[in-house]
Point group: C2
Chain length 232, copies 2
């Protein structure tokens, strides 16, 4: 058994224990020594597997309580996919057109669900609208808030798979949006239009007009993409 | 600097090098010794970071060519997100309703795109239809092919973000689908209906009837969910 296989064995075991309920969120993993002996692998392989789980956001380690009992399965993992997708996008890049098409799918559904909801929690989104109204923002600062705004809408709609996917795509989205902004000869009128579009999306949601909300976010996303990636 | 911070420093550096083009797919990572010295971290931290990248499918290591020069950035990473999402879903489970709603979003778009395409590559999907026509299949075997069929449709449509997300959700989907099958008193009529629905979806795609394809896959997914998770 190569070293590579060894750490994969550890991950597969933890995955299986999670799947059948032997392990649950909040539980301590078995001590490094015990896992290593049980699976017939080296302790360094166990340690590597735990590091991977930590990067994925599935485990936190408490360094204060001894090396062999410090790995706890987190109750609400959430950042793992973002870490992964950020790395994956950085390594290869999903085609921008695929990112944009996926945004359209997910985000039109998000605003339609918000518009159909009785009392959606829009506080975060509205706070971000106000922050983006500040005229002195640089393009970079504006676009960071813009990304947060879109993620806040997804969070308000509440589908956890969609939230996680959008969070994972965030770096990919910021990447093409920033690259696009650098192509523009004059940022200011674009910022003004994006501001107006954001407000109109939220207004449509608050009026519970799902079709208008869908149409407006579609135009918002495709308009910027067409303007900044004209050859695509 | 704790050991944990050290491996995070390594990952952040690699991510930054990828993002700015210093590193590209196909490149070797800097040797472990050089990276460790440059970043002021231990070699074990570099090794752990490389393991993480390997699990994420971003790096492959060649054990034959020496420990310090063996990590190569892969050209087309693809499996990382599945690994992560499988673990994440196993650790916590996305709510089944959120998984189903996300499937509906993605898969209705997939079949509509296939129906609109001039000459979609449906060979894999059709081979899977034929395999599922075998009457002697157990429920478990049928459902494994069923999951492959849905993934084959996504692959044929070609949006890489959607393919990756669907691949990542595969275990989550198989999980609720299998759990659902166990609730059924009689699998056979359900299998017959699922077969007919699969054929009808592909027929609608081949007739280039996007609306019918959308409606049929929606009914296919929601019908099974409603039947097997009646209280949801």
């Amino acid at each position: 058994m190569t070293d590579q296989r060894a750490w994969q064995v550890v991950l597969a075991r933890i995955e299986a224990d999670l799947a059948d309920g032997t392990l649950s969120p909040g539980d301590h993993l078995a001590p490094e020594r015990a896992l290593a002996a049980e699976l017939g692998v080296g302790r360094s392989s166990v340690r590597e597997a735990v590091r991977v789980l930590e990067v994925l956001g599935l485990v936190r380690t408490q360094t204060g309580s001894g090396p062999s009992s410090g790995a706890i399965l987190v109750t609400a993992p959430s950042d793992g996919m973002s870490v992964l997708m950020r790395l994956q996008v950085a390594a290869q890049g999903f085609p921008v057109a695929d990112v944009v098409r996926t945004r359209l799918l997910l985000e039109t559904a998000v605003v339609a669900e918000l518009a159909d909801a009785a009392d959606p929690e829009l506080t975060d989104a509205i706070d971000l609208l106000r922050a983006m109204d500040e005229e002195s923002l640089t393009a970079q600062d504006f676009l960071a808030l813009d990304a947060q705004f879109h993620l806040a809408l997804a969070s308000a709609a509440g589908n956890r798979v969609v939230i996680t996917t959008m969070a994972g795509l965030r770096t990919a989205i910021e990447g093409y949006v920033r690259t696009g902004a650098e192509q523009l000869s004059d940022w200011s009128p674009v910022a003004a239009r994006l501001r107006a579009e954001h407000h109109a999306i939220v207004t449509a949601v608050r009026k519970r007009d799902a079709e208008s909300a869908r149409r407006r976010i579609r135009q918002h996303i495709t308009g910027y993409y067409a303007e900044t990636f004209p050859t695509s």
